[in-house]
Every structure is written in structure tokens, then in C-alpha cells.
Amino acid sequence: MIAVIDYGCGNIFSLRRSLSHIGAESVITADEDVIRGCDGIILPGVGAFGAAAEKLRAGGLAELVCSEAAAGKPLLGICLGMQLLLDSSSEFGHHEGLGLIPGRIIPINDVITRPLQIPHMGWNALSFPRENALFRGIEPGSCVYFVHSFCAVDCSEHTTAVAEYSAPITAAVARGNVYGVQFHPEKSGSTGLKILRNFCEVILG
């Protein structure tokens, strides 16, 4: 059973549909006992970093997610959920993240080398600087769907996938049992479903 953390940030309809399509049982929840009882956790998220981090902390969920991750439970952050795994963000002020993976969030505009449309929206090809369980069986050059205006930097050896948008954009990060993807696997066709399946396999061990 996968706990999809419900903290009022983002449309999780399609994520649940994708999980049920690949045969993974999930529950949308903010209940601490339910989350503790699940085998894996997905942290979704759409919207602004600061507000989301606040909501996650206010409900005591931030602490729980961190302790569960520290205990070895597989955790996957998606989009803003991935950004929240890092140290901090400069989206509308300075905000602290969960600090599970080193790195910070800055405007894509500060990364790209020529004027491009913001948000970075659409299907972009992945390349993999190192192997990671999440991308097992996925060819370099496979496309996934992105929608974001801020991006992760300084993740160093924890960067597991990159997309080019005039400059390399961090597409995925990982540190042990903690995974994050900037793109939306639930909106990325068969490639996205495969990535979610890989996460389920990580959970199964």
C-alpha cells in the first residue's frame, strides 16, 4: 500500500488513476497511523513552495515523512513534492525544505542560457548521469512531461536524470530510499507508468 500524502496541494486524481492502472494500491491520506502502516510514500504537489512547505509542517506531516524516510521507507516526491525534499527554495522569499536531499530551488530563468518560455512546459527527453532504480529499463532520450518555473540546483551526485532546456535542468534526484522527479510520471504516458512501476518494485524490494 502506498500513502499519497494529502496536504491540500495539487490535483492527485491522475496520480491515483495511474497507480491503480499499474495495479498498485494507494490511499490518499494525512493520517499519521495510516502513513506509518504503508510500505511507501508519495509526496505530490503543485503550487508555490512556501505555502506547501507550511501546510506540510502545520499538519506535522513534514516530520513524519522525514522520520519514515530515515527509517528506510521508500519515498517519491513528484514535481513540487520533489522540490520539497531539498534544502531550500528561493520562490517568493527564502523557504526551508525537508532537507532529505542536498540542493536548492531557484527560478529556471536563472539557469537557462537564452530566453525561453517559462514555465518549462511540455515533453522533454531525459538523460541519466548515473544509474538509478527508478529509471531501470528506460532508454536515454525517453520523453516525460514537465510543467515548472523553478528548478533544482546543487544536487551534485544525487542528480539521477537531466533534461536540456538550453542548459541542463535537474529532472530527478535520489538519495538512498528517497526519490524525486521534477516531471509528472502520471502524465507521461507509458514511460511515466514504467517509472511508477519501478518505484513500486523498489517498495517490494
Binding site: 490535483n11 515533453w123 532508454e139
Partner: protein
């Protein structure tokens, strides 16, 4: 490198998909849910569902169909038609839409754009415009292209993008249904100032028209079409392979 998107548009009325020629002579063709699944499997990069219901009952049918289609596809879904309030945004987002397009609703109340952007994010708010050339100037039209609002097309788009729309679908009434190619001068004019993704709509009749679109306007993000796909004149897979062969970045792993 980000790929160019190919987007089939499904106009839905009374539970079936409709496509007209110059907005007249509407013709029912197929089950929207079946078509959505077909497009999901054959390489569409996104789908647009457009509600052209004229009644409360029609709206209810549309909402049911939307929820069913959304539960079967795993690509982004944009919904438009009859969106005039935040409650409309919520209604279609709760059915599984990822983005919501506003057209006449924003003309009636432009503040709908910043209000929706604040709650759902700019990436969720798509501006859709129907533009027609009148006496050498582009004007925003409503009422299936029949009513000239008097709003200057480019000024209106600029204003809505400043208000927070995160993407714009530019539909040329002059080109729509004529199948003689996209309205390149109009699309070029929009791409010159728009800092957000621009989607070309209206006029696609052949693969060559898509090649021409992406070649002539490198900044265009996507090409949207309906009848050429619905009537099977070309498959999305064949179109994307052809475009890739012309050096245009395409997603081919589907």
C-alpha cells in the same frame, strides 16, 4: 531538448465528438472516450476536450464523459468551453483535467484569469482566443466566430498574459476548417511577444502544414487540430515520425 507537441482537439456536444467547417455544419462523429484512448495510445502529446454543450443537461453529460476519459488516459488534458467562474475550474479539475482554457468567460470577466492563476497556478490557466482578420486588423471573436468583440487580438492576448494566463491557444477563424494551412502571419505576430507557450490552431489539412508551421515559427510550442485526426486522414504517429524526419523535435516513445 523540449519537443513540439501535437494536440488533437475533441469538440464534444451531446456526448459525441463534433467538428465543423468554419464553425458551421456541425457533424457528429465518434465517442469522445474511444477517441481519447486512441489518441493517448497513438502518440498525442496532450488532449483538449472542448465542451460545446448548450444546456445544463449537456454540461452534465460532458462532465461525465470528461471524468471517464480522464481516468483512461495518461497524458495532459486541457478542458475548455463554458468556463466562466472559479466553480467551473473546480468542476473540470475535479474530473481529472490538468489545465483549463478560458475564452468568452475571460472576455466577460478578465479578472477570472488572475483569480484562477492565484488558486490553481498560471500553468493551469490557458487563454484561448478566436481571431479573425477584419479590414486588415485581427479582432477577437465570440459566438462560434460570428461576433466581433471589437477587442484587438494581439492587445487582448498581451493583457491576458499579463493577468497570469500560462499558455495561449490561438485559433484563426480565417484558417479554421479550410485545411489550407495554419495562419502563419497571426501566429508569428503572437510568438513575437508571448513569453508563454503558444499553441497554433486552425487550418491543418496535411502533414506539410505542420512541417511548415514548426519550420516557419520555431517558437511555436504545439500544433492543434481536429478533423485531420478524427477522420483518419493522418495518424498522429505518422505525423510525428514525418516531423521528426524533418528535424523537428518530437516525442516518439509512446
Amino acid at each position: 531538448m523540449i519537443t513540439k507537441r501535437i494536440i488533437p482537439c475533441l469538440d464534444v456536444r451531446n456526448g459525441t465528438v463534433v467538428k465543423g467547417v468554419n464553425f458551421d455544419g456541425l457533424k457528429d462523429i465518434a465517442s469522445p472516450v474511444d477517441l481519447a484512448c486512441l489518441y493517448n495510445d497513438s502518440g498525442a502529446d496532450e488532449l483538449v476536450f472542448y465542451d460545446i454543450a448548450a444546456s445544463v443537461e449537456g454540461r452534465r453529460i460532458f462532465t461525465d464523459i470528461l471524468a471517464e476519459a480522464a481516468s483512461k488516459i495518461f497524458i495532459p488534458l486541457t478542458v475548455g468551453g463554458g468556463i466562466s467562474s472559479l466553480a467551473d475550474f473546480e468542476r473540470v479539475l475535479s474530473c481529472g483535467a490538468d489545465k483549463v482554457s478560458v475564452n468568452t468567460g475571460a472576455i466577460r470577466d478578465p479578472m477570472l484569469i488572475p483569480e484562477a492563476a492565484r488558486i490553481f497556478g498560471s500553468q493551469c490557466v490557458v487563454l484561448s482566443v478566436d481571431i479573425k482578420l477584419v479590414d486588415g486588423r485581427w479582432f477577437i471573436h465570440t459566438g462560434a466566430g460570428k461576433i466581433n468583440t471589437g477587442l484587438d487580438g494581439l492587445d487582448w492576448i498581451k493583457k491576458c498574459l499579463e493577468l497570469g494566463a500560462g499558455e495561449v491557444v490561438v485559433n484563426s477563424i480565417d484558417a479554421d476548417g479550410a485545411k489550407s494551412g495554419f495562419d502563419l502571419p497571426l501566429l508569428k505576430a503572437v510568438c513575437e511577444f508571448a513569453p508563454v507557450p503558444v499553441i497554433a490552431s486552425g487550418g491543418a489539412g496535411s502533414m506539410e502544414h505542420f512541417v511548415e508551421l514548426f519550420r516557419e515559427i520555431p517558437d511555436i510550442s504545439a500544433g492543434l487540430a481536429a478533423s485531420v485526426f478524427h477522420y483518419g486522414e493522418m495518424t498522429i504517429g505518422d505525423l510525428k515520425r514525418r516531423l521528426a524526419g524533418e528535424g523537428i523535435p518530437m516525442r516518439l516513445d509512446f
